[in-house]
């Protein structure tokens, strides 16, 4: 029953083992083939894929930001330059606990909590991985030293040298050249990410903004080999960046200084341009601000002060200040009257001191309540007689008035290359219907004739219209850039010139404007007195607060800020105009008394050159 005791059979055992060995040998071969197949799959079939993976691992493309183009005035005085500056950068990926590192920076440099919040904001902006983000600009020697000493506590923090925009003339060109500032979140979304990789600043206003594309240049790049920790080992390929184009402006540094000085600290705007070419020679909006503050990031407090100041230093009065043009519009209205034939140079209107519409008791007053008696065109302009222009406007009608004012550029953007220009407002029947759902009233035409009412214009528009008077209707858009990268700017869509039925009309109006300056009864005869050249000018006042019917404008009653704005336009020499000027002095009250002398100083500055007694600020003026 019991099974037989099996003896050890070595031969049998060996045979058994050998058969098993053969099996395993086969298995070894099979598995080896699996390995070879796997390697074949990875190295031959998927070669492209893995090859790309490995290359992408190794090669990183780093942007080389271009150098921003420089900005000069018409004579080569530098207005915007690039200055080497040291800034503190942090690379989030290398910093680890970056918030703690930021706190450490604040501690080391003895900054405050506000800086920390600013740092945090900058670091959290969307950036490419491993891209250092600048958080603090314009490091002082002392700060650089402090960072160096504490480097071991600040992983990922580096002091980087790069070029930062600098405006050597400070406040003088803040409203024309503008400034660059850090690219913000919104701009980042709209920008060409490739073109702006490595660039931290972008033009925010002025020429810097308008010519951003030209000034920026073309980004270069370098392919660098990096290791697994992102450290750059060597440069494989380098494509240099292309610097931005340099821009020569039409502005004249010295005339700008003259204009600024002429305003003598009053709030106001001065625009001067070359009538024939549209070149803007001076563009002053006072008070101004230091654009350098914005380049490196202005502090909340400093910005708040600028923004909330009652003097509105950030407000560009030349481009965005909207004022009723007042009597300065009268020469243009006169041109309209002559060309439509409702008046002739010699036709006269009797001024009893007011004007009344037929069948209406409302009295439209002349500024001279006594009246000027019989007034012809020349006297009407020289005396700035309101009654004459009420009558003229009434005869013209709103449609004609609108048509001619439109051809002088009112109610539209006139400049070729300025950023943020306001269109102003030139009312019409259609406009009023759309805006107020009301018909146009004849009374509104009257006050429009003396530049009051709905009409609003910018100092730039006034200067441009003055230029049109000087060139006898030749339209050239005012512009700030003379050449961009050596190429003169051109107007792609030129405006048609103003053609009058008789070009003598221009002279008739010019004579009137000359009488303003040089005539016996001219409103600005005191300013024109003793001038070595003839000036054609026109004064104006723009009401800030409307005066009630029957009430007299009493300067003592009116608060300083509610006083009328003083306006003045002029071109000279009258027979061969080389410069046209528009001046606006806020709350200056008297166009001929306050604004005209300013205009005269600017004309002198351009036509006579800087004289010895006009001590123009030296060009090496530094910003505060």
């Amino acid at each position: 029953m019991s099974s037989p005791i099996r003896l050890k059979d070595h031969a049998l055992d060996k045979r058994l083992i050998h058969s098993r060995l053969m099996m395993t040998a086969l298995l070894v071969l099979l598995l080896s083939m699996v390995l070879v197949a796997r390697m074949y799959y990875l190295q031959v079939v998927q070669y492209e894929h893995h090859s790309t993976l490995a290359e992408n691992n190794r090669i990183h493309v780093q942007p080389l930001p271009p150098t921003r183009g420089l900005i000069y005035d018409r004579n080569g005085v530098i207005l915007a330059e690039n200055r080497p500056s040291f800034s503190l950068t942090i690379t989030k990926e290398r910093a680890g606990e970056w918030q703690a590192v930021l706190q450490e920076i604040v501690k080391v440099l003895q900054l405050d909590e506000e800086n920390f919040i600013q740092f945090e904001e900058r670091v959290t902006q969307v950036r490419r991985p491993f891209e250092p983000v600048p958080i603090l600009f314009e490091l002082s020697e002392e700060q650089i030293a402090l960072i160096a000493i504490n480097q071991f506590r600040l992983p990922g923090v580096e002091v980087a040298a790069h070029l930062v925009r600098h405006y050597p003339k400070g406040k003088s060109f803040a409203h024309s050249v503008g400034y660059v500032g850090r690219i913000n979140e919104d701009e980042l979304k709209k920008l060409d990410k490739v073109r702006y990789s490595g660039t931290h600043h972008i033009g925010k206003t002025g020429v810097e903004r308008f010519y951003e594309d030209e000034l920026h240049g073309e980004v270069g790049y370098e392919e660098v080999e990096t290791n697994a920790r992102g450290r750059v080992l060597r440069v494989l390929k380098r494509n240099e960046a292309q610097s931005g184009k340099d821009i020569y402006l039409t502005l004249d540094y010295e005339l700008q200084q003259v204009a600024k000085k002429a305003l003598a600290g009053r709030r106001g705007a001065v625009v001067a341009l070359v009538p024939d070419t549209g070149e803007i020679l001076a563009m002053v909006s006072e008070p101004s601000f230091d654009p350098n503050l914005f380049v490196t990031g202005i502090s909340f407090k400093a910005y708040g002060e600028l923004r909330d100041s009652i003097d509105q230093p950030l407000f560009n009065r030349v481009l965005r200040g909207l004022y009723p043009p007042g009597s300065t519009i009268k020469p243009m209205v006169a041109v309209a009257g002559l060309d439509t034939g409702v008046i002739t140079p010699s036709s006269k209107v009797f001024d009893p001191g007011f004007y009344q519409l037929p069948n209406n008791t409302h009295k439209y007053r002349n500024w001279n309540r006594l009246g000027d008696g019989w007034v012809d065109l020349d006297l009407a302009i020289a005396r700035s007689n309101d009654t004459y222009f009420y009558d003229l406007a009434y005869k013209l009608g709103i449609d004609n008035l609108h048509k001619y004012m439109d051809s002088f550029g009112f109610g539209q953007r006139v400049a070729l290359d300025v950023f943020g220009e306001s269109a102003g407002l030139m009312p019409s029947r259609d406009w009023k219907r759309a805006r107020y759902r009301q018909p146009w009233y004849p009374g509104e035409t009257l006050i429009l004739g003396i530049g009051q009412g709905y009409m609003q214009s910018t100092p730039l528009q006034l200067a441009h219209a003055t230029g049109l008077m000087a060139t006898r209707g030749k339209w050239v858009r005012p512009h700030l850039a003379k050449t961009v990268g050596g190429v003169p700017v051109t107007d792609e869509s030129p405006h048609p010139d103003i053609k009058l039925s008789n070009s003598k009309y221009w002279e008739s109006v010019r004579d009137g404007m000359e009488s303003v300056m040089h005539g016996a009864r001219g409103t600005a005869r005191k300013v024109g007195e003793g001038s070595p050249y003839r000036i054609a000018g026109k004064s104006g006042t723009a009401q800030v607060v409307a005066i009630k019917q029957g009430e007299k404008y009493d300067r003592d009653k009116v608060q300083e800020r509610h006083r009328d704005h003083a306006l003045f336009i002029a071109y000279a020499p009258a027979e061969n105009p080389q410069i046209a000027v528009a001046v606006m002095v806020e709350n200056g009250e008297s166009g001929s008394g306050v604004a005209a002398p300013v205009a005269k100083m600017v004309l002198d500055g351009w036509l006579l050159g800087p004289t010895a007694d006009e001590d123009i600020e030296p060009q090496t003026q530094e910003t505060e």
Partner: protein
């Protein structure tokens, strides 16, 4: 007497094998040649993988020298002695594993070493790679083959207990190799197919249970990462993605020696130890990998021949297990680096940097040489 013996030798009844110098010192020429060949290839790869560090090469070379010395010493031992010591060695090895478990030296999150200050630091689990097949073979040859159920159970216990201890260290790779060395003995001894099928059938539920209750989270992570490395490209999947990129970007002929970007720019982790095959694949391409694999297969083929020519069952089982375990090293290492298998710490034999595994491997080949060179050639016609 002497004359009588000489006459007997000359009689033709006895063949006397011509014995070479190598055989006299109990070394096998083929094995030695192939080991040295693979080893020298390894030095080139290591030089590249270790960022041209000469110190690394010197360290590896001295380990190699020690390993060759140990191999030579073991080759002098009679396999009979090994069989006699098998039980004792196994008990010592197991005891040391318990010591590690109780008071081992930790490094890099794992407790694998016994530290004798000033003298040495070693891993008992490495010893077990050799003691395991010795012990199982010794146990099985005491009885008739194929093993009965009882013997299988005892063998499995012999295998599982130390493996469990090693896996707990945790050292999944070594545990796997030790288990393989024991199981190969069992398989070669003629383990019946029904048991094998039954074991596989049982392995599935056992695997699930192990997954749920025994695997450490990092081990589970490894398996999960293996299944989809792209799911965590910067974390646990990084290694495998980078090693695949290294291998794949090598293409057919490779980027050239010292020109592998993945390893030289530190994208490839552990490039001089477990992942060194990726360096070779990147720099020498598919051709290089196939040539290396050919060398390994030649070495394995020679070991197979030795196994076939071994004269006792014990020797056959031992030699066969050592041979197959060696192949497991190669297969698991290349398999894991190329993303076929989970990443378990198994070095590439003779090429990966590391003294301990080198000495263990060479000791194994020492046993093979001993088995081959201590054969008896006197037979009576």
């Amino acid at each position: 007497m002497q004359k009588k013996f000489d006459a007997l030798l000359d009689s033709g009844d006895v063949t006397r094998r011509r014995v070479s110098l190598l055989q006299r010192v109990h070394l096998d020429g083929w094995l030695l040649l192939l080991i040295l060949l693979i080893g020298s290839v390894g030095f080139f790869i290591l030089y590249s993988a270790g960022s041209k560090s000469e110190a690394l090469l010197i360290k590896q070379a001295s380990s190699f020298a020690v390993g060759l010395f140990v191999m030579a010493v073991i080759a002098q031992l009679e396999p009979r002695l090994m069989a006699r010591w098998a039980a004792g060695l196994y008990i010592i090895g197991f005891g040391l594993l318990v010591v590690v478990e109780v008071m081992g030296h930790s490094a890099m999150g794992a407790t694998r070493w016994i530290n004798i200050p000033g003298v040495m630091r070693f891993q008992p689990s490495e010893l077990m790679k050799l003691f395991m097949p010795l012990a199982v073979a010794w146990y099985l040859v005491r009885h008739n083959l194929p093993p009965t159920f009882k013997h299988i159970v005892v063998s499995l216990l012999l295998i599982v207990l130390p493996c469990a201890l090693i896996a707990r260290q945790p050292d999944l790779g070594t545990s796997l190799l030790v288990a393989a060395s024991g199981l190969f003995v069992l398989f070669l001894s003629g383990l019946r197919w029904r048991w094998i099928i039954a074991a596989i059938a049982a392995a599935v539920p056992a695997g699930i249970v192990t997954w749920l209750f025994f695997l450490r989270s990092y081990q589970r992570q490894r398996v999960m990462t293996f299944l989809s490395p792209e799911s965590d490209p910067l974390g646990s999947g990084w290694n495998i993605i980078q090693s695949k990129a290294a291998i794949g970007s090598g293409g057919t002929t490779g980027k050239g020696w010292l020109a592998g970007t993945q390893s030289h720019l530190d994208f490839l982790p552990e490039s001089h130890t477990d992942f060194i095959i990726a360096v070779l694949a990147e720099e020498f391409g598919l051709v290089g990998v196939c040539l290396l694999l050919l060398c390994y297969l030649l070495l394995i083929a020679r070991a197979f021949i030795i196994t076939l020519q071994a004269q006792t069952v014990f020797n056959k089982l031992l030699a066969g297990s050592i041979t197959l375990t060696f192949f497991i090293y190669v297969f698991v290492n290349i398999g894991m680096v190329s993303g076929l298998l989970p990443v378990v710490g198994v070095p590439l034999p003779f090429i990966s940097f590391g003294g301990t595994s080198l000495v263990t491997l060479l000791s194994g080949f020492g046993i093979l040489m001993a088995i081959h060179t201590h054969r008896k050639w006197i037979s009576y016609a």
